[in-house]
């Protein structure tokens, strides 16, 4: 019996083969009343290849059909389908072959399930708008908008939240066509979740419809527009709360986006001790920065005041910032937009930013600018407490269709308390710094649309800023020239400046056929009062003044008058050019210590912009301009005192007004829909006068260089190239980016000219997949190298090379049902100047479970490969520093999340 069974198994395929050889199936398809059914679909289906159709026929008007069977070595099925009837399935057996049969179809007795499927392209381009469908790119494990944008082709985003599209900066992120954030959208993309976002649109050549003068001007901005699901009043957001049991870090986040026809609002809250500084989450790159909305056009660019003294944080390149800080940070912001009526628009933002953080490090700095190189050893703890409040708003009033008044304002108030404990040349040194900063601005704009395609735009701006830095250090070194004794307790330096600026402008714009003409008169009056005081505390707690050069109050008055004539022409719909003739008069007057100096200079500063669109997918632009360069308030303040190591002088104290030029060529080709690639190339060259940037911050008295004009222009060349290729249609992407920078800049040290030749190269190759929801990978390999050679005449002062390789790999897995696992691995090979090659790697894993559409839980294991110390070196013109710093240790963070 067993043998018989084996024989059957062995010859079973042959039986099947034989049953289908040169045979046919024929018959009549009818309903239960024996009425013929025409157009029935009769198929022979194979069971070995997922049920695909091998042969087919249709029944004729009498319901008859005939199918010839070809020879196959597998089982076949006959399937008859007619709309409204149950599909008939039967195994093909000898009983069906060559014997006409009647196939009675049974009517369906229940309604068919309703199916509605709508296909949308993942990426579409209409005119200047490229639209990305979010559901095609989101994987379900994104925490923020930034996480989503990283997945979209052509878009890149840095740590502070600045977005680029094909190498071009994004000027604003709009929420359903409304701008709530201006150019400070980092806060939105770093903190807000993606709940409710349906589409992300990139709009090129955009102009805001809220400004009536834009009806006559061309759109110049590139913006991102977020489109949300649904209509009417909607609320989207997410809340997460996280805690790590052993190390005790916490992480709480909340964001809420409210959308309606008249009101839009985004509220963000964050409190964490997991290394994310509130200032960085808010979108600011540097600690002393304040938000600066570049989309508001002031008559003159306002330089927001920064603290004159700061202790630098240690932030090594290519290591994520959240691995560096031992922090406790809080962020609370609200951005509001009201369209009260069709005629009144009101916007206001509030932000409270608080950072408490600590860094441990030791460093060895060798100063090589002097005759004898000096080495300073420090073993320090930097503790910082920074707080600031910022509010900004805009009210826009439309008086009929031809008049608009806009009021823009901002106010900020910040306090910083910083301290370090360490050593300075074997002496115990404690430094304390208190910063106070408050500034505010009011801008009034009125626009009148005139007849015959023209308008007048009148602006007035008042700005007031006050910055004070109180710096104290203990145990100063004895110095007879400064009358400092060994027994003295501390020295306090008080450096402050107060700036009041009035600016006004009047602009007339007219369109003449293919020409447009714009004439602007601009006036600025700046009144700056910098003060410097230095006190010495003796052993008996009495305070003594330093020499008079340290007790300085200056008066600086700057007047700027500018007349600008802009002529633009549209040669065709593809070629436009604009030529700007600018006449600028700068007048400086500076009074300090009975020394009065003034400088007056008239500049002619022409500029040319050409844009050419060879096709709808490519764009070429050329910009060249002459620019005036003059010292700002901070530089002038610091130039008022000058110290060497052992003596004090007032320095040369000269005001230097010069001009330089820049050239920029940019080409982009972008076609994600058909050719599926984009590339861009940007070439930039500048030849600008020497900037007054020397701020030598040793751990002792703050010493400043004077404004010494060398009549030498800094040269800088930058080439930026990017290529984004969709390898498999919308499934995998390859991105290549290279940035090369080479330049010569000049600096001074004790009035000696130093020439610095600098090159930087950064190349990055990235492979990223969008295969499916189950497994995706993103891997980047980047190489960075920088060299600097500093020379005094032909004497080589400093010559160093630093290079780094970095690989960054993220693997995203979706396991059964709602389990997600994200693995991030960073591997860094650092070769710093004068240091052996160092390898460091980081591994994080996040496991997330979505209980349902709203609730989720996750466990984040950070710094699994815990390397809590890293040594790097940095160099500049006159110093080489080796730093050993501590990184945050391993922790496991449990998080519960809710989104709506």
């Amino acid at each position: 019996m067993i043998r018989l069974a084996l024989l059957f198994v062995l010859f079973f395929p042959v039986f099947i083969f034989s049953q289908t050889d040169n045979k046919k199936i024929e018959g009549t398809v009818t309903n239960p009343n024996s009425e013929p059914i025409s157009n029935a679909s009769i198929k022979i289906i194979a069971n070995d290849t997922n049920g695909i159709v091998k042969q087919f026929a249709f029944s004729n008007s009498n319901g008859k059909f005939s199918i010839k069977l070809s020879s196959v070595a597998y089982q076949l099925y006959l399937q008859i389908s007619v709309l409204g009837y149950t599909t008939f399935n039967v195994k093909v057996t000898d009983s069906l072959i060559n014997k006409p049969s009647q196939f009675i179809m049974l009517p369906l007795t229940k309604a068919l399930p309703e199916v509605y499927v709508k296909a949308e392209n993942q990426i579409t381009k209409k005119g200047d708008t490229t639209s990305f469908k979010v559901s095609s790119f989101a994987k379900g494990n994104e925490n923020t908008i930034a996480d989503l944008l990283k997945r979209l082709p052509g878009l890149s985003i840095d740590e502070s939240g600045t977005i680029k599209f094909n190498g071009k900066n994004i000027d604003a992120v709009l929420l359903e066509d409304d701008d709530l954030f201006g150019s400070n959208y980092g806060n939105l993309v770093n903190n807000s979740g993606i709940s409710g976002i349906e589409k992300v649109e990139v709009i090129e050549n955009y102009k805001s419809k809220d400004r009536i003068e834009n009806s006559l001007t061309k759109g110049k901005q590139t913006v991102l527009n977020l489109r949300y699901k649904g209509a009417g009043i909607r609320n989207f957001g997410q809340a997460t709360i996280g805690y790590a049991p052993y190390q005790n870090p916490h992480d709480m986040r909340l964001n809420l986006t409210t959308l309606s026809k008249r009101v839009k609002a985004v509220s963000i809250g964050n409190k964490n001790s997991t290394g994310f500084l509130a200032q960085q989450l808010f979108g600011l790159t540097n600690e002393n920065d304040l938000p600066d909305n570049k989309n508001i056009e002031y008559p003159q660019t306002i330089e927001l005041q920064k603290t004159p003294i700061s202790f630098n944080n240690i932030e090594p390149k290519n290591i994520n910032k959240y691995r560096i800080f031992d922090n406790n940070s809080s962020l609370a912001t609200t951005n509001l937009l009201f369209k009260l009526t069709k005629k009144i628009l009101f916007k206001n933002n509030y932000a409270f930013v608080q950072d408490n953080f600590l860094q441990n490090y030791n460093s060895s700095t060798t100063y090589i600018g002097g005759v004898i190189p000096t080495t300073i050893l420090q073993e320090s703890k930097i503790a910082k407490n920074n707080n600031f409040f910022f509010t900004e708003g805009e009210t826009s009033l439309n008086w009929g269709e031809k008049n608009q008044t806009r009021i823009n304002y901002f106010f900020s108030s910040g306090k910083g308390l910083h301290s370090t404990d360490g050593f300075f040349q074997n002496n115990i040194l404690t430094q304390t710094l208190q910063n106070n900063n408050s500034q505010g601005s009011l801008l009034l704009t009125h626009v009148i649309l005139l007849k015959e395609k023209s308008f007048i735009n009148i602006k007035y701006n008042y700005y007031s800023g006050n910055t004070a830095a109180d710096y104290m250090f203990t145990n100063p070194l004895a110095d007879t020239s400064l009358n400092i004794k060994n027994t003295d307790k501390n020295i306090i330096q008080l450096i402050a400046y107060n700036q009041k600026v009035h600016t006004a402008s009047a602009n007339w714009f007219k369109v003449l056929n293919s020409f447009s003409l714009s004439v602007t008169l601009n006036e600025a009056l700046k009144n700056i009062t910098p003060t410097s005081n230095t006190l010495l505390t003796r052993q008996d707690n009495t305070q003594a003044n330093f020499k008079s050069n340290f007790q300085v109050e200056q008066q600086i008055k700057i007047a700027e008058t500018e007349l600008s004539v802009n002529l633009s022409k549209n040669f065709s719909s593809r070629l436009q050019a604009s030529f700007v003739n600018k006449f600028k008069n700068l007048s400086y007057k500076k009074d300090v210590l009975n020394d009065s100096r003034s400088e007056d200079k008239l500049f002619y500063l022409p500029s040319l912009n050409i844009t050419f669109k060879p096709t709808n997918k490519s764009h070429l632009s050329l910009n060249s301009s002459l620019q005036a360069q003059a010292p700002n308030a901070d530089q002038l303040n610091k130039a008022s005192i000058f110290m060497g190591n052992n003596n004090i002088t007032t320095g040369t104290n000269e005001i230097n007004l010069q001009s330089g030029y820049t050239l920029n060529l940019f080409y982009v080709f972008s076609d994600f829909a058909y050719k599926r690639y984009s590339y861009y190339a940007s070439l930039f060259y500048s030849n600008l006068p020497t900037l007054y940037t020397n701020n030598f911050t040793a751990s002792n008295l703050y010493m400043f260089n004077s404004l010494v004009p060398f009549n030498k222009n800094n040269n800088n060349f930058n080439a930026n190239i990017g290529f984004d290729k969709n390898l498999v249609k919308l499934k995998s992407w390859l991105t290549l980016k290279t940035n090369y920078n080479a330049g010569t800049f000049f600096s001074n040290n004790n009035t000696v000219l130093i020439t610095n030749n600098v090159t930087n190269l950064k190349s990055e190759l990235k492979y990223r997949t969008n295969w499916n929801k189950w497994f995706n990978i993103s891997t980047t390999i980047a190489y960075t190298t920088s060299t600097q050679k500093s020379l005094i005449s032909t004497f080589e002062l400093n010559n160093f090379t630093n290079s780094e390789w970095l690989t960054n790999t993220t693997i995203e897995l979706k396991l059964y049902k709602n389990w997600f696992i994200d693995i991030q691995h960073d591997y860094l090979v650092n070769h710093s100047y004068n240091k052996p090659v160092q390898h460091i790697q980081f591994l994080d894993t996040k496991c997330k479970y979505n209980f349902n559409n709203k609730w989720s839980g996750s466990l984040l294991l950070r710094n699994i490969l815990n390397t809590n110390a890293f040594t790097t070196s940095s160099s500049s013109t006159t110093q080489n520093t080796v730093q050993n710093f501590t990184l945050t240790p391993f922790f496991g963070l449990f998080t519960l999340g809710y989104k709506f």
Partner: protein, 261 residues
């Protein structure tokens, strides 16, 4: 009691009347692969024995290239749909309302026939025509083993030599209609996607609704029946007459202007 039982059984039989759902309609919107943007869709309604189709222009996409806006009393052509969002939407609504007032050009074809019928409106003579066209035979499909899931339907690949090119079709047996877009048919399931060898000619389903709930445009048999070739000759004549009358109007307008000057 027996009487009540019989009544109950008859009531159940009446309620669940075992009748085939012959009126089940599957509606599919196809996009034309010829244009990079969707300037219009080909809307099909597939019955058990026939199909009805209508070409629907996408006014929103077409007029993004330019729409009229009154600025300072001067009629201008704008392309910025964000700045002029309100004007654009109003204009598109007007265009769509206008389109609704006009009769729809409907095509109808029975599956068991190669003849397609289409209504045309000869505005100039205020007369309707039914243009009858015989479609090219499509019974030489080669069924291939490739499959893919397209819009949630399992599809199988087939290819055919047609108009000196090789066309590839993806059909689904889950929708058992011997039909597809633009005369493509002859497969044991609805064709959801079809394109030529370069991928630039063809159609692709973008919306599928089954069973369709809504109003299907009706094909009217009222009108003079003519062949496709005769209709081409007729329409050329009509167009040249229209052009001529337009030129006459323009010439008269220019004459009037000169006289006034």
């Amino acid at each position: 009691m027996k009487y009540l039982t019989f009544v109950f059984i008859f009531a159940v039989l009446f309620l669940f009347n075992v009748k085939a759902q012959n009126n089940t309609i599957c509606a599919v919107k196809y996009k034309d692969l010829k244009s990079s943007t969707i300037l219009g869709t080909h809307n099909y309604w597939f019955y058990q024995d026939k199909l009805v189709s209508v070409k629907e222009p996408n006014n929103r996409a077409i007029h993004m290239r330019g729409f009229p806006v009154l600025i300072n009393g001067v009629m201008t052509t704008q392309t910025d749909t964000i700045k002029f969002n309100r004007e654009f939407n109003e204009y598109i609504d007007d265009m769509n309302d206008e389109m609704k007032k006009k009769p729809v050009r409907v095509t109808m074809k029975y599956y068991n026939s190669d003849i397609s019928k289409m209504t045309y409106f000869y505005d100039y003579k205020n007369k309707n025509y039914i243009v009858v066209d015989t479609l090219q035979n499509m019974d030489s499909w080669e069924i291939l083993n490739d499959t893919m899931t397209f819009m949630g339907f399992k599809c199988q690949k087939a290819s055919i030599k047609y108009k000196q090119d090789t066309y590839t079709a993806w059909f689904t047996t889950q929708l058992p209609y011997n039909a597809g877009p633009d005369g493509f048919r002859g497969l044991p399931g609805l064709i959801l996607k079809v394109n030529n060898s370069s991928g630039k000619l063809g159609f692709e389903a973008i919306v599928i609704q089954t069973p369709f709930k809504g109003v299907v445009p009706t094909f009217s048999n009222e009108g003079e029946i003519i062949s496709q070739n005769d209709w081409l000759i007729l329409s050329r004549e009509r167009n040249s007459k229209l052009r001529e009358s337009m030129n006459n109007m323009m010439n008269e307008y220019k004459k009037d202007l000169k006289q006034k000057q």
